[in-house]
Symmetry: C2
Subunit: 342 residues, 2 copies
């Protein structure tokens, strides 16, 4: 077991991209989208045994689900009184450990098919983190996706990775195509590894209000067994910024470790379909579905009986009293319904 | 009021073409598909006031719904112990009235937009029926529909109609196109007008087993107020044949009265869509529907909330635990699901 690497699972998100399955307290990470286990459970299992039990950052609304799904993991909970984005969440984790602890920060709603490749990348990243690099994991793009931020690699750092030249925010299609053609760009998967003291120093320099609020929120927080509730008044003072914006894009010692590990953020029903076991007609169905002369469809029947006749490449998602029908290629537009039904 | 014309409403069908809305005891005729009232109610209203209250032929399973929807009409009920197709049903009606009564036989699940035109056609048909023609109503085809039988007109019968040359069963597309191009062909709408004694004689000649079984079933039937339950044992002996096959195609004194009256048999979800009030994007919705960038769709939400994003020309029909998604152009294939879910 690698004792000095402390997994941190960010579990505060809600997300509307998989509406209607994902909404309110039933956030995407708690759904079993690709098999029996939820994305959150699979995130926990990915480091179990090899590293110490994780620190889980979650909101008050999700504590019960986290307990239910992570009970046996020996995890510590740090509860965010309100969502203040990833920088503040990571600052809470930083304030909860010793300066020399290496924090492996992971979103809780991604899929990683090749865990061995992930572990190998963690080893590389840890070597760089011990040299005070803040390390991000880069996913080799296989398509000009406009839904991700990109990382431009600079000089090689031995065999382990590259210095980050710059971060590119979610690009328009033309720019995404250019980056794919040029090479040297990776998707920013939002997985990080760094020495806690190194991040603390970076935050004090780049986003002092966030780290100060987080440190006060932990100091004044309420401890109860394995659970710490951050102090609401202190935490509310933390500006709501992503870690990319607050630190990564501003720091000059950020490295990227490229890794090919069957990663997906399952950021759309199309992405879910791509990872769902399908029949010979490329239909992936969960529940009671009758498909006749239909191809390439995703059905989640939600306890109802869904009949598709002559339909191609659509998602039909049933959840409670909501039924969504959308072409898989239009998956990103699901927000239109999610927002209309807020 | 035209006293000698007795409306007869055939209400025994079930039908799977509008599955899942239509099934089991909730047959198509009892659904409000185009407005507030059911097709059955609208059929009753079409002759109310102008003609005597109707005789309603229905199955035991539908008596309650018939009572509910036709209670104020003063209708007489003739209950079929089991469905034996239209010839036997009409034979029951024939056996229930005097020989000189003109029977106006109507399916209960059609739409007629122009009731005035229908009434005018009834006048013409009645004149022919009094001369012992068995009269059928012909609908001018506006497309080469393969879902209807066709009637070929022969010699004109004055101003009122034409002698029927022959009946054409549901044709393949090529033949339907040829008939449309040639002219002189009408759709067989299944609406008939004849003197009861004339039909009785025709049946004794063309299908004696049916009329004998029906006459026994009425003679041995159970009368209770305005309801007659045909005798099950007698009625079970009636061969199950359509009136077209049992009589119309065999008789040599059959006339057709062509009529243009905004008729539809609502024989598919596409036909329902064509008669549903639609918004500017040609979407016709019943219930709680959210449509975003979608066109030409039919939604029946069945108490759920249906969200369509980027969908064109599909039907989404929710009924209880069933959800059907099908391109409107494929509406005829709904039977695949209806049969699979029997």
């Amino acid at each position: 077991m690698t004792r000095d690497i402390q997994p941190v699972v960010l579990c505060g998100g809600a997300g509307t991209r998989l509406w209607p399955a994902s909404r309110g307290t039933r956030a995407k990470q708690f759904l079993a989208l690709t098999g029996e286990r939820s994305l959150f459970e699979m995130t926990i299992m990915r480091t179990a045994g090899r590293f110490p039990p994780p620190i889980i950052l979650c909101g008050t609304a999700h504590v019960e689900l986290v307990r239910e799904q992570a009970d046996a993991s020996g995890a510590r909970l740090v509860v965010e009184p309100e969502p203040r984005n990833t920088a503040a969440a990571i600052a809470l984790a930083v304030a909860s450990v010793d300066a020399d602890t290496l924090l492996l920060v992971m979103p809780s709603d991604h899929v990683i098919a090749d865990v061995g490749a992930f572990h190998a990348a963690i080893e590389k990243a840890a070597r760089l983190a011990r040299q005070d690099w803040i390390v991000t994991f880069g996913i080799s793009p296989d398509r000009p996706d406009t839904g991700f931020g990109y990382i431009a690699s600079g000089a090689a750092l031995g065999e382990d990775g590259f210095q980050v030249d710059r971060f590119v925010e979610k690009p328009p299609l033309v720019e995404a195509e250019q980056m794919l053609a040029a090479g040297g760009f990776d998707w920013n998967a939002g997985i990080f590894l760094f020495r806690a003291g190194r991040m603390r120093a970076a935050m004090h320099r780049h986003c002092p209000a966030i780290v100060q609020a987080a440190e006060l929120a932990i100091a004044a927080g309420v401890r109860s067994g394995d659970r710490t509730d951050a102090d609401p008044v202190s935490f509310a003072r933390a500006p709501s910024e992503s870690i990319d914006y607050a630190v990564m894009e501003k720091d000059d010692r950020v490295a990227v470790v490229p890794v090919s590990m069957g990663w997906s953020d399952l950021g759309s029903w199309q992405a879910v379909h791509a990872l769902t076991p399908c029949d010979a007609a490329a239909n992936g169905c969960d529940g009671n579905a009758f498909l006749h002369d239909s191809h390439g469809c995703l059905v989640r029947s939600g306890g109802k009986r869904v009949s598709l006749i002559g339909m191609d490449d659509v998602a039909v998602i049933v959840d409670g009293d909501d039924i969504l029908v959308i072409p898989l290629a239009r998956s990103q537009d699901v927000r239109a319904a999610a927002q209309a039904h807020k």
